[in-house]
Amino acid sequence: MNESHASEPGTDVPDTHGSTKDEQHTIEQEPSQRREGGSEANGPHANPAQSDDPHDNALHVEGLTKSYTAGHDPVLRALRLTVPAGALAAVLGPSGGGKTTLLRIVAGFLRADAGTVRLGGRILAGPGVHVPPERRRIGIVPQEGALFPHLTVARNVAFGLTGLTRGERRRRTGELLELVGLAGYGDRMPHELSGGQQQRVALARALAPRPQLVLLDEPFNALDSALRAGVRADVRAALRATGATALLVTHDQQEALSTADLVAVVRDGRVAQCATPQDLYRRPADPWVAGFVGDAVLLPATVGADGTARTPLGAVPLAAAPDGPATGTVLLRPEQLRLTAPAAGGVVRGTVTDVCFYGHDAMVTVAVEGHDTPVGVRVAGPLPVGPGDATGVRVTGEATLHPAG
């Protein structure tokens, strides 16, 4: 019944992108699929890895809509997402935002109310189509690994290797264990491994049958922070080595920015912005995204004819100036602010209200004159000030303007 629902033309509401209709045509005309993939590469989210891959493993999600109770508050609202072949994309969002639902629909454990999921040339889910999970060639790495507790590490990895001779299976298993740095662990039982090792085995298990796409559901959550960075790097390297497209779901913006080639911020069942980590951090689509992906200093601003924004911290150059005079909010990052001597020329004066010391740097909160909310200043190296001190604040670099309204 979900399929029939999706086939009603009216329910396929186009997202903010207007291209939904055109792409629908492409889906129906299978042969033109290749060209479609090519044109995608010219898009803003192009990834160089795509051309290296002989197979088209790109993931296209269109108009994905899902609500758990019929007619109420959809978890996904016509979500659209494209991951180029071979890329590692992170789906970042607050919990309850529909990330896991998206993952489960792509994997085939849930059926969407509307929308299509395409992997390479195949339609996995769409009007009248639902490929069962076991035929999708999508590997999954769940939270905490979820290794089969009754099977050895080697048999866990070999679980998806059907239709191979025993020798081939053993060779492939060894290959994968080596790839994740666990050669020689094949005879252990899962409970004899540490959390990080279990996670690597789970990745090896998912990669063994050479899936076109690997889904990682908050895979580093259960690991303590000391281990996390190492496992994350290893997972990234292993994914690169196999060339599989990967989708990583996380609520940790550090993890998303540091691991992924592409980050899709999901909010209220939609992709609020999809960009490279750098773009996302430097040029967030709106103040909410700005605050979600990192510490943000948001200031009210008026832009004059000269293209600079006048803010409580003084005049700030804009990365992209609006056509004419405008008002709005400008975004700065705390590391763009500098503390200066209070009496220095051309700076805004303020009072330090709080200092948070992190070791590699410190966050100094400064109440500035003419602005209600204190601003955060990231200070590397020795701290020149303490709470209560007077200080000056200077802005470096460019700001992003989010016009009002």
Partner: protein, 541 residues
């Protein structure tokens, strides 16, 4: 409670999935939308669904047939039987006994739980194990012990005493678990907020024990209402005994059926109440993680009194029955020691219990997996149907199977298969609960992973679900085996002519006052039941 609704939602989901017309979305609007919507992907595979529906039908059969039979002569006649002065008298006696036993069990259970879990009672571990041992004593064995020591106990007092002493662990165990589960940090917070130890106990600890104690109390009430062994030996007339007498006394079985229906209604009400408290108890527990063990309360000058209390409880509930048994075994002459008969009965008991456990486990497997893995109305109905035996006293199950066999399957009447079927209906809940718990232990994500690695649903079942659940299912089978072995009322009614189990033999000999002759059967029963119980205990730890 008719079987047809169990099949409906699944059928709805199937037609909706295969019907491509847009209308299909509109049609199931009247039926549960949540199930149809999510059921599309979570619908149990047919490998499970078909056998599970059969098991549920099987479990509901006696209940349905009982209703048919009770109303056979018209509702007026049934009402006449139910509204009879004698029935009301029975109702009063049953409820009176239940109230007395429940009150005694709550006092005994809560006090022993607190003493063994939260105080510096010397030998706390020993007492906590010893106080759960009465669970292994069937009520008729306790009745045998007291009656053989003091025949004058027969009546209300004796019935209440023996039932209390075998069923107080039903309160003790959940309350002890709740006490262990309470994070001591809560009590520390209360102390730091200016409450003394007593006020802390009354305002913080006790309210949290209430769901556990209430759940335990309802289990005790259920046990007492459906008990046949102790009340019949103590010659105290309750519903179960009256049903048995009425069945034996006349060829007209409608009165027995009508009485059964009243009894079933009472137990159903209790089961519903028990399920409600269980639900709330689940919500009451907040926060994950393992709490630190609490610092034991020093007993000070109360220590001797606490020891006396625990000692007395264990003495009358465990030591006394065993002592009496030992006494009768010792005084038994060679005439009462019929070794051949004992061996034969023991083998017969083991055989019929094994068959009962096998059939029950087999029927429980698909229901348990569905109950653990599939949400939605259809799955819930299936599970609830399988739990029907939980609300059915053994005597009513037996009675309904007798009716059914006499009418529709005469060759089965007074044959072993009918008895085995009765065990399956009665103890399906035990096996389903064990299977469900075992399947729940394995996270469902493992099954998702297996699907993503190319396995079809039935392959996932074979390679992941069943191997992971096997130990728990085996434990459930062992538990079912033990309860089958101890079953009395259904066995009495349904056993083939000339066949005895240890339980029926014990009941007959005790009823005839030949205690020395009964003792070997009681001893054999306890010993044989102890082996799987011991293995189960080891499995759990």
């Amino acid at each position: 409670m008719k079987p047809s609704p169990t099949a409906r939602p699944a059928g709805t989901a199937r037609t909706a999935a295969t019907d491509p017309s847009p209308r299909a979305t509109a049609r199931p609007a009247g039926t549960p939308a949540g199930f149809a919507g999510r059921g599309a992907e979570r619908r149990p595979p047919l490998v499970l669904l078909v056998p599970a529906c059969l098991a549920a039908l099987f479990a509901l059969l006696p209940l349905g047939y009982l209703a048919v039979r009770a109303l056979e002569r018209g509702p007026a006649f049934a009402w006449e039987v139910v509204a009879d002065e004698r029935t009301l008298d029975l109702l009063g006696r049953s409820l009176g006994l239940t109230a007395a036993v429940v009150a005694a069990c709550v006092v005994l259970g809560v006090s022993l739980a607190w003493l063994t879990v939260r105080t510096a009672l010397p030998g706390a571990r020993f007492w906590s194990v010893a106080a759960t041992l009465p669970l292994a004593v069937p009520s008729y064995v306790a009745a045998f012990a007291w009656l053989s020591a003091e025949p004058g106990l027969a009546g209300f007092g004796g019935a209440a005493l023996s039932l209390t002493l075998v069923s107080f662990p039903y309160v003790l165990l959940p309350v002890a678990a709740a006490l262990r589960g309470i994070d001591p940090a809560q009590e520390e917070a209360a102390r730091s907020l200016g409450h003394g130890p007593l006020r802390t106990f009354l305002r913080v600890t006790l309210p949290q024990l209430r769901p556990a104690a209430a759940g335990g109390a309802l289990l005790v009430a259920l046990y007492v209402l459906s008990d046949f062994g102790a009340v019949s030996l103590m010659r105290y007339d309750t519903f179960t005994r009256a049903i048995h007498t009425s069945y034996r006394a006349s060829f007209d079985r409608t009165p027995a059926a009508a009485l059964s229906v009243v009894l079933v209604l009472m137990t159903v009400a209790l089961v519903a109440a028990e399920a409600r408290t269980r639900g709330r108890a689940g919500h009451a527990r907040t926060g994950g993680g393992t709490a630190r063990p609490a610092v034991p309360v020093a007993l000070g000058r109360w220590k001797p009194l606490a020891l006396l209390w625990c000692g007395a409880a264990v003495a009358v509930a465990v030591a006394f029955p065993l002592g009496t048994l030992g006494y009768w075994l010792a005084v038994g002459s060679s005439a009462t020691w019929d070794l051949g008969g004992l061996t034969e009965t023991a083998w017969a008991t083991l055989g019929v219990a094994a068959a009962g456990a096998a059939l029950t486990t087999l029927l429980a497997l698909p229901v348990g997996v569905i109950a653990a893995r599939h949400r939605g109305r259809g799955a819930r109905l299936l599970e609830q149907a399988a739990y029907a035996g939980h609300a059915l006293p053994g005597i009513t199950v037996a009675l309904s199977l007798v009716f059914f066999a006499v009418r529709y399957a005469y060759p089965l009447y007074q044959r072993l298969p009918l008895l085995v079927c009765a065990y399956a209906v009665l103890f399906l809940p035990v096996a389903v609960a064990a299977t469900r718990a075992a399947v729940l232990q394995a996270p469902p994500v493992l099954e998702d992973v297996a699907r993503s690695l190319g396995r079809r649903p039935w392959q996932v079942l074979r390679e992941i679900t069943v191997p992971l659940a096997a130990p728990g299912v085996a434990a459930g089978a062992a538990l079912t085996f033990v309860v089958c072995m101890k079953e009395l009322p259904a066995t009495l009614l349904l056993r083939p002519t000339g066949m005895d189990t240890l339980a029926t033999r014990l009941w007959t000999e005790t009823g005839a006052g030949s205690f020395a002759a009964a003792a070997p059967y009681a001893a054999a029963l306890i010993l044989l039941a102890a082996v799987p119980s011991y293995l189960l205990g080891r499995h759990r730890s």
